[in-house]
């Protein structure tokens, strides 16, 4: 692993992994979600030191345009969630 993460990142990582296991199936069923992992919170495209549950979406849409079931919470079981706009992924041939 690499430096420049929060001091207690190992614990944050472990907790985010646990929550990920329970929440991944439900998150992937939500509109626009393309991936779920454990990673660094991004701010304006730059990474921060915070280790969080990362939910990747093909595009960010205003909350008001989402059905309640498709809203991604800002935290799950106390683990912060960072929604990152990645576009849709496709093979690179």
């Amino acid at each position: 692993m690499t430096a420049e993460l929060e001091p207690n990142w190992v614990e944050s990582y472990r907790r985010a992994q646990q929550v990920r296991e329970q929440a991944v199936a439900g998150l992937l069923r939500k509109e626009n979600v393309v991936g779920v992992g454990v990673g660094m919170r991004l701010r304006q495209g730059r990474r921060t030191k915070e280790v969080v549950l990362v939910v990747m979406v093909d595009r960010k849409v205003p909350l008001t345009d989402l059905r309640p079931a498709d809203v991604i919470p800002s935290a799950i079981d106390g683990v912060p969630v960072d929604v990152q706009e990645t576009g849709e992924f496709s093979i690179h041939t």
Partner: protein, 334 residues
Amino acid sequence: MDDLVRVAQAKAAYQAVLLAKPNVVGVGTGYRTVGKRLTDQVCLVTLVRRKVPLAGLEVQALVPTEIDGVPTDVLEVGDLRIQKPRDLRWRPAPGGVSISHFRVTAGTFGCLVRDRRTGVRLILSNNHVLANSNQAVLGDAVLQPGALDGGSAEDDQLGRLERFIPIQFNDQPGECSVARSVAAVGNALARLVGSRHRLAVRRVDPQAANWVDAAVARPLQDAWVDEEILEIGRVIGTAAPGLGMPVRKSGRTTGLTRGEIQVLDTTVTIGYGDRQARFDGQIVTSAMSSPGDSGSLLVAGDRLAAVGLLFAGSEQATIHNPIAQVLEALEVSL
């Protein structure tokens, strides 16, 4: 203008002498840099591989500080090598060049690996590059350069498909007879009430866990492939991925690019033309690839250690299989 003429004359007169000195790789005209600042003083610039302290140089290796009244400057540029384009035919072929199954457009030759049982050297890339996303037959021709880059089965076959890890796609037509009859009943009801919706049986298997998009091809001749990866070198061993880890890759389309690992243990949905497949345990980096880079080896930024196998991406990010899973699944080693 006078200055420029004098520099040009000095360059013409002394270029051969300067180029004959060890360590000198080029001579040109330019502006003098003092410290790190560019001045407006025109000078004769000598390009050297490495700057060496004066004390460490033979007298005849010295570049004089001025020639015929024209100031000189020494610029360190490393080794200048003109890179042959990656989409051309390479023999021996190194990692980082164009390659594909004869029915696929083009991807990248990741690197050479060894069969754990036979010790034979094999070409590592993706299933969708070497095995046409499960649709190939073992022994099929693998071309270098790839088909999109003009590779032909007659002239440019580099190897044969040796083996691949099948990809489970999300919606393959269902096999389950109970589901089929439920759909049939449902469709009958739908017709009865004039609904335009029909139920199709799709086995959307949320458990369809792919870990790798990987395949190996066997070179027709062992001498036709090279251990080097272009602009990276020879990779020795693997490194575990870590958050924030700097990484690089050498690929057909975008060449040598750098990035950093941003997300780990990622479950992600990937588009394969009109199909989709779900992958678990993937590495996500900042954007470092474009179409044609599939199959590139992801290498640690500061060491010659393999970290992953690039296979997919978007404008904002690139997705890689963890290298340990790739080597394990294919029963090969670096």
